[in-house]
Symmetry: C2
Subunit: 273 residues, 2 copies
């Protein structure tokens, strides 16, 4: 796909439009288990009188899919095992939450008072395995909880299915990014990152594009899908679940079968693992 979006198309392939627009859809209902997320996006676009164009990218917070998949856990019903109990005592967290974190993780990366950083079963490293305690109730009349919301089972699959439904509905090639907010080593504050991706490259490899002196660029692999997620986070807001979908218009990219794991450094090659 060569996107005829506004801006300057880059013959190299990716992300060089001169103008980019990010539009947060408003008025989306709170998602419930079993909801069809693609249908909710189509309805949101219709309310905003927007038709998707070739090359548009939809960024959807993972929480929407977590809710649609019913990934709610009543923490009051979780029984911590011995490993969770030991770790909970070490860091001073609720043993039931630690049990949930360990169930969702491959290994513990770092621990400190009130902090558990893990390598999630999906491969990325983050605090608390991405488990969310805010806006985590399945329904208004749900048991008192507390409730936790796990990440979607397979965010790449969420992206692929959503992309397929949108492409069928609008008849154009689009991209979909499933986003979350992560902390980082060295730097404070969370940033949006891509948990799932379909239709646009997760990474953009600029190796071989000459610079203005004709030298070859040395380190030019950019995290395209992560930067799209970070940009979308600027308009999505974090506490406001009514704006979990952002339309990004003006990127140009080649359609591709991508996956978010392409953004993950191999632990054996990670100097900070």
């Amino acid at each position: 796909m060569s996107a005829p979006a506004q801006g300057v198309a880059d013959p190299g392939g990716v992300s060089c439009a001169s103008t980019l627009s990010l539009i947060a859809l408003t008025g989306l209902p709170r998602v419930a288990p079993g909801d069809d997320v693609a249908r909710l996006i189509v309805e949101g676009l219709a309310r905003a009188e927007l038709e998707l164009q070739a090359g548009d990218v939809l960024v959807v917070t993972s929480k929407v899919f977590s809710r649609a998949e019913g990934r709610f856990v009543d923490v009051s019903g979780v029984t911590p095992g011995p490993r969770a109990q030991a770790l909970a005592q070490e860091v001073g967290k609720d043993p039931r939450m630690v049990e949930l974190i360990l169930r969702e993780s491959l290994e513990v990366s770092r621990r400190a008072p009130n902090v558990i950083i893990v390598r999630h079963r999906l491969g990325f490293v983050s605090a608390n395995a991405g488990i969310d305690l805010s806006n985590a109730r399945p329904r208004e009349d749900a048991a008192p909880g507390p409730w936790a919301l796990l990440l979607p089972e397979d965010p790449d699959l969420c992206a692929r299915r959503t992309r397929a439904a949108l492409e069928e509905r609008y008849g154009v090639s689009v991209g979909v990014v499933i986003s979350d907010s992560h902390g980082r080593p060295f730097r404070l504050g969370t940033v949006g990152i891509a948990l799932g991706v379909s239709g646009l490259p997760a990474l953009h490899d600029q190796v071989g594009r000459a610079d203005l002196d004709g030298r070859k660029l040395e380190s030019t692999l950019t995290a395209l899908a992560d930067q799209v997620a970070a940009a979308a986070d600027l308009v999505a807001g974090q506490a406001d679940e009514a704006r979990p979908v952002v339309l990004v218009r003006g990127l140009s990219f080649q359609a591709t079968a991508s996956r978010a794991a392409a953004l993950l450094r191999n632990p054996s090659q990670d100097l900070y693992a």
Copy 2:
């Protein structure tokens, strides 16, 4: 300042517009030592027939200020000291480049074949102390080099001066972010980050904003200036020095005396330091 930009103003203060536009200025000349960057931005805006509005944010790649400050080094004239020679032999890099990296750094964070990751004198952690070998020649007729380009002396000062000049010219409050591209632990690909900032908060603290259930959000410090830099990188391109300035329109934020160091985790509290 309460920015009357398009989109929904957030009474909490920051980054909750429903529409965001990013416009890369085109046709900027290659910056030479002594150039007035703010004047070049004003000329670029005029060519694009754009007037700055209250709440606009300009994202400028640090390389522009490096060139304006004349931070070029002819690597052929660098004499590596014993520490640089030892480290260069260990990792297999040019000892002259290692000397430059060490001069710009507080400490070495990690080393591996062909990799040196340092804590820069400005406090952030990155590969090669942010020293650039692409587009690093001061002039067409410069000595053969090779040439390296160091980061600006004080990116926050670049941001403050640029902001002051733009606010005087346009009579409105704006923000300025000085950006660079960094690699990251755990994740592949570079992302835009803020090396300098003025006028908008580096971090946006959402603590205390209730979620839709009335619970307080737990971890809600977002890296506003980093996300703005990442978003701008999507339209700036990396190899194309003719688009080092991006106008971001549609954020809403309170004007503030900010600094990029607010984005840096204290090393003593960094589990990966």
